[in-house]
C-alpha cells in the first residue's frame, strides 16, 4: 500500500470531534522518528492531524494555544499485553471477554469482536497517557490448562468510540515453557511436538480445504475455525506471540520459528538477557515487564531488573508492559518504563518501548507511535518527565481527538473531597 493510500485510509478512520486548529507550544517533542527530540518545539494540529511540528514552526492565526510550559510531548503510549476493553472487574467473569474455555474455539478466538468502548478502564488508562492497547487474550484455565492457543490479539484505541479496533487479529497468542508443557500433557518435549503437528495440520488443511469440507482427508484435532485462524500464522503472515521465560525455552522457540518459518514475538522473556545476542540475531522482538525480577517460577530464576537494558544493548527491539493482563493497573506502564531507565535502559529507548516499538511490532507504526507531520494527532503533553510518578498529563489526544482528563475514580474523589 502506498503511503498516500495509507494516509487516506487513516483519514477515513479518524473522525475528529471538531474541525479546529490547535497549537501546543513550548514543549520538548519526543518524536520517536529520525528527528529525535526537539527542544522548545511547537506542534500544530489541524482537524485532528499533525499539520506541522518543529522548533521554529509559526502558530497559525486563530489557533487554540496549549501552553506546554516547558513540558514534554510524547506519542500516545501503547499498552502491550493488555486486556483493556475486554474486562471491567477482573473477578466478575460476566464483565470480562478476555478468555474462552470453548474447546472448539482456541486459536479462533477473536478478541476484537465484542469489545466495550464504554469501559471505565479506558479513561483511567488515558490518564497515564495510554492511547492504544494491544488487547490480548488470556487463557481461561478454570478447567485446567487444556487449550493450546489463547486466541488472537487486537490493537485498539482508547477514544471510546464504537469503532475502537485499530488492527484486528494482529497476533496469535501461544504459551510455551512451563504452561505450554502442562497444556500438552506435562512436558516441554510434548508441547513442541504438538505445536509442530498442529502446524503440519494447518498447512495440510490450507492446501486441502475442499477435501476437508467434504469430510475427506486426514482427521484433524483442531476445529475448522481454529485451523483457519492458524493459516496466516503457519504462512508467516501473522506474528505468533510466544509466552516463554526460561533462556532455553527462548532459544528453543527461536530455532523452531526458523525451521517452521514463523514470525514470533517473545512475551515474558524473564531470562531474555541470557540469550540476548541470539534474540537480536534472529530479529525477534521481546515484550517484557521490567519490574518482573522475582524468581516466580523455575523458568524465571534468572529474572532481573536490568533485563530490558541488557536486551536493548544487544540490539533487541524491546516492548515494555506492566502487570500482564492487569488492565486496571495500566497506569503503571510509564513507571515500569521509568524503572527500566533506573536500571540502565536509555530514557529515549524506554519511551520507544511504549510507543514506536509496540506500534512497529504490531503493524500500526504507519498510524501511531511517533510524532510526524501528516499523521493523526495521537499524543500526550506532560508537565515533566513522562516516566515519573511526579509528572501528570496536561492534554491527551487519541486518534485526533482531545480527550478530557477525567475518569470515574476522579469523579469519586471529587464526590468525597471535603469542601472548604
Amino acid at each position: 500500500m502506498t503511503r498516500r493510500l495509507a494516509a487516506l485510509a487513516a483519514l477515513l478512520l479518524a473522525t475528529p470531534a471538531s474541525a479546529e486548529t490547535i497549537a501546543i507550544v513550548d514543549a520538548r517533542l519526543m518524536t520517536m522518528t529520525g528527528a529525535g527530540e526537539i527542544s522548545r518545539g511547537t506542534i500544530v494540529i489541524r482537524d485532528g492531524r499533525i499539520a506541522a511540528l518543529g522548533a521554529g514552526v509559526p502558530v497559525p492565526a486563530g489557533a487554540r494555544i496549549i501552553d506546554g510550559r516547558g513540558g514534554v510531548v510524547t506519542p500516545g503510549f501503547v499498552q502491550a499485553d493488555s486486556t483493556l476493553g475486554a474486562v471491567e472487574v477482573s473477578q466478575v467473569p460476566t464483565s470480562a471477554d478476555r478468555a474462552t474455555h470453548s474447546a472448539a474455539i482456541s486459536a479462533g478466538f477473536d478478541i476484537s469482536l465484542g469489545l466495550n468502548p464504554d469501559s471505565i478502564l479506558l479513561p483511567v488508562s488515558r490518564l497515564a497517557g495510554i492511547t492504544h492497547a494491544v488487547t490480548t487474550p488470556l487463557y481461561d484455565d478454570q478447567g485446567g490448562r487444556r487449550l493450546q492457543f489463547a486466541g488472537q490479539a487486537a490493537v485498539i484505541d482508547l477514544a471510546q468510540r464504537p469503532q475502537m479496533v485499530t488492527r484486528p487479529r494482529a497476533a496469535m497468542v501461544l504459551e510455551m515453557g512451563e504452561g505450554g508443557a502442562e497444556r500438552a500433557g506435562g512436558a516441554r518435549g510434548s508441547a513442541i511436538v504438538e505445536l509442530r503437528t498442529t502446524l503440519a495440520d494447518v498447512r495440510h488443511f490450507a492446501a486441502h480445504r475442499a477435501a476437508y469440507d467434504r469430510g475427506e482427508g486426514r482427521p484433524q484435532t483442531l476445529s475448522r475455525v481454529d485451523l483457519e485462524a492458524l493459516v496466516p500464522v503457519a504462512e508467516g503472515r501473522m506474528p505468533l506471540i510466544v509466552k516463554v521465560d526460561r533462556a532455553s525455552d527462548i532459544r528453543e522457540m527461536i530455532a523452531f520459528a526458523r525451521e517452521e518459518r514463523l514470525r514470533i514475538i517473545v512475551d515474558g522473556a524473564g531470562e531474555g538477557w541470557r540469550v540476548a545476542d541470539e534474540i537480536a540475531a534472529a530479529q525477534v522482538p521481546v515484550i517484557l515487564d521490567p519490574l518482573a525480577d522475582l524468581p516466580r517460577s523455575f523458568s524465571e530464576l534468572g529474572a532481573t531488573m536490568d533485563n530490558a537494558a541488557r536486551l536493548h544493548a544487544a540490539g533487541v527491539t524491546v516492548v515494555i508492559k506492566t502487570g500482564s493482563g492487569v488492565a486496571h493497573r495500566a497506569r503503571e506502564l510509564r513507571y515500569g518504563a521509568g524503572n527500566a531507565v533506573a536500571w540502565g535502559l536509555p530514557h529515549d529507548a524506554a519511551v520507544a518501548a511504549i510507543t514506536i516499538n509496540p506500534a512497529r511490532v504490531f503493524g500500526v507504526a504507519d498510524r501511531i507511535g511517533s510524532l510526524q507531520a501528516g499523521r493523526v494527532a495521537d499524543l500526550v503533553l506532560w508537565n515533566g518527565d513522562p516516566l515519573e510518578p511526579l509528572s501528570q498529563p496536561q492534554a491527551v489526544f487519541v486518534e485526533g481527538v482531545e480527550k478530557p482528563l477525567t475518569a470515574r475514580p476522579l469523579e469519586l474523589r471529587d464526590r468525597y473531597m471535603p469542601r472548604p
Binding site: 522475582l294 524468581p295 517460577s297 523455575f298 530464576l301 533506573a342 501528570q392 469519586l412 474523589r413
Partner: protein, 461 residues
C-alpha cells in the same frame, strides 16, 4: 563466600542464644513468648551521613543535613551538625535519607518464591476461624523476596496470614535481615496482630464449599460468635486468676487465646476490609465486644469515611494504584491515603505484593502527586510517613522505629535521588546501624540460599 558467612554472622550468634532464652509464663497461664525473637544486631561503628536531604518521618524535610548514628540508634539529625570524632563519614551530598521503609502488609516467606504449591503457606482455607495459626510458623526465611525488599529500602515488615478466613491467624513483625531462622528476624518486642477478613474472600471460599459464611451477614455472625466464645474464655481465665489460681487452670485453647489477647489489648487487630459500609460495621462489632481495630487493610473505600476512621483512630493501609480486581475494590482511587491524611487520620501505603514491596517509595509518590494535582497539598515530609511512621504505629512499634528521632533504632535508607522519583534506588540500607544492603558492594547483596548457584545470583536485581 567468606563475606556471606560474615554477613550472616549476626544470625548465627542469634541462633546460639535461642536455647538460652526461657519461656516466661504470663499471668493468664499461657507462655508469654514461646517463640522468642533471637535477632540481636551486630555491633556497629558510629556513623555520620553528611550533606543529604533528610525526610525525618516526623513531617520534616531538612536540606544539607547531618544524621548521626551511634550504638545502632539514631543520635541526632539536623542541619549543620558537627560530626564528632571517630564517626565514619558517609557522603550524602545529592542524595536523600529516610527512615527504613516499613511494610504493614506483606506475605513474604508465607508465599515464597518460586510459587510452587510447596510454598503456599499463607492461607489455611480449611475453616473460617483459624485464629490459632501463627504466620511465623509458615515463614521461610530463604524466600528470595526478602533481599529484593531490602534492596527497596524495607527494614521492617508485618507478615500476615491470607484473607480466606474470617480469622486468619496471628501476624508476625520481622526485621528485614538475612537469617536462617524466623526467630532470627523477629522484631524484638513487637506485638502480635490478628488478621481478620471482611467481605468477598471468606464468603466466596466457604460459600463455595456449601457452608457458612456464604454471605456478608454470615461473615458478621461468624465474628460475633467467635467474640462471644473469646469473652467467655477470658472470663474463665480471669476468674481462675482472681480466685487465687486454686485448682487446675482452665484448659488452654490456642484459637481463643489469640482472640482473648485482642480483648486484653495485647494483640492488634489488622482487618482486611475494602468497603466503607463494612468498615463501619466492623467498628460496631469491635465496640460490642470492647476491643479496638488498629488498622483496616486494603480499604479501597476508606476515603468515603475518612472522618470516622480518624475519630476512631484506626489506621488505613492501602495502595495508590490497585483497584478493580473485584467488586469490593471497584471504587479505589489514587488519593485514598492522602484523603485519610487530610482528615487527620493515619494513612499507610502497603504492598501486599512481592513486587510492590520493592517500590513502596514510588507508590507513595504516586499518591502524593495525585493529591497535589487534586488540590490537596501533601509535602514530601508528610508523604514519607505513609511508609515509615504510620505503618510503625499500626504495627505497634512506633516507639522504636519509623522516624529518625534520637533514641530510635537506626533503620535508615540512603537513596540515590528524591525517593518519590522512579529513578531513586536505595544505595545503602542500615538496620539497627548495621549495613544490610549496599548497591555498590556485593558483600551486602548476598542472595538467599535458594538463589545460590542459580542463574543471575550475582545480580543486585
Amino acid at each position: 563466600m567468606a563475606s556471606m558467612m560474615k554477613h550472616l554472622g549476626g544470625a548465627c550468634i542469634a541462633l546460639l542464644s535461642l536455647t538460652a532464652a526461657g519461656a516466661a509464663i504470663a499471668a493468664h497461664g499461657a507462655p508469654d513468648d514461646p517463640f522468642p525473637a533471637t535477632y540481636r544486631p551486630a555491633a556497629s561503628a558510629s556513623l555520620a551521613i553528611v550533606g543529604a536531604t533528610v525526610l525525618t518521618g516526623t513531617g520534616a524535610e531538612i536540606a544539607d543535613a547531618t544524621l548521626l548514628i551511634a550504638d545502632g540508634k539514631i543520635e541526632a539529625v539536623g542541619a549543620m551538625l558537627p560530626v564528632p570524632e571517630g564517626y565514619a563519614r558517609v557522603d550524602g551530598r545529592g542524595k536523600w535519607v529516610t527512615p527504613g521503609i516499613i511494610d504493614a502488609h506483606s506475605h513474604l516467606g508465607v508465599y515464597a518464591s518460586p510459587a510452587t504449591p510447596s510454598h503456599e503457606d499463607g492461607n489455611g482455607a480449611v475453616a473460617p476461624n483459624t485464629a490459632e495459626v501463627w504466620a511465623e510458623h509458615s515463614v521461610w526465611p530463604q524466600d528470595p523476596k526478602f533481599r529484593l525488599a531490602r534492596a527497596g529500602g524495607v527494614t521492617s515488615l508485618m507478615i500476615l496470614p491470607g484473607s480466606a478466613n474470617l480469622f486468619g491467624g496471628r501476624s508476625v513483625t520481622l526485621k528485614n535481615v538475612p537469617s536462617v531462622t524466623t526467630q532470627g528476624m523477629k522484631f524484638p518486642g513487637a506485638p502480635y496482630g490478628l488478621k481478620i477478613a471482611c467481605g468477598e474472600n471468606p464468603k466466596r471460599v466457604y460459600g463455595s464449599k456449601g457452608r457458612s459464611p456464604a454471605t456478608r451477614m454470615g461473615n458478621v455472625a461468624g465474628y460475633r460468635k467467635a467474640w462471644i466464645d473469646a469473652a467467655d474464655y477470658l472470663r474463665r481465665q480471669d476468674r481462675w486468676e482472681a480466685g487465687g489460681k486454686v485448682g487446675d487452670p482452665p484448659k488452654r485453647d490456642l484459637q481463643l487465646e489469640t482472640l482473648a489477647g485482642v480483648l486484653r489489648g495485647e494483640i492488634l487487630v489488622q482487618n482486611h476490609c475494602y468497603r466503607a459500609d463494612e468498615m463501619a460495621v466492623m467498628i460496631d462489632v469491635a465496640r460490642e465486644f470492647g476491643f479496638s481495630i488498629r488498622a483496616f487493610h486494603h480499604a479501597n473505600e476508606a476515603y468515603k469515611i475518612a472522618p470516622l476512621l480518624a475519630k476512631e483512630d484506626i489506621c488505613v493501609a492501602t495502595w495508590a494504584n490497585s483497584w478493580g480486581a473485584k467488586m469490593e475494590s471497584l471504587d479505589g482511587i489514587e488519593e485514598n491515603a492522602p484523603m485519610i491524611d487530610a482528615a487527620g487520620g493515619c494513612a499507610i501505603i502497603h504492598s501486599d505484593d512481592g513486587l510492590l514491596i520493592q517500590r513502596l517509595n514510588q507508590e507513595a509518590g504516586i499518591a502524593m502527586t495525585a493529591a497535589n494535582h487534586a488540590g490537596l497539598p501533601v509535602s514530601r515530609g508528610e508523604a514519607i510517613r505513609w511508609i515509615t511512621a504510620n505503618p510503625a504505629k499500626a504495627m505497634g512499634i512506633a516507639d522504636k522505629v519509623g522516624t529518625l528521632e534520637p533514641g530510635k533504632m537506626a533503620d535508615v535508607v540512603l537513596w540515590s535521588a528524591n525517593p518519590f522519583s522512579v529513578y531513586a534506588l536505595a544505595d545503602r540500607v542500615w538496620v539497627d546501624g548495621v549495613i544490610q544492603w549496599d548497591r555498590s558492594d556485593p558483600r551486602y547483596q548476598g542472595p538467599s540460599d535458594f538463589v545460590v548457584g542459580q542463574p543471575g545470583q550475582g545480580f543486585a536485581r
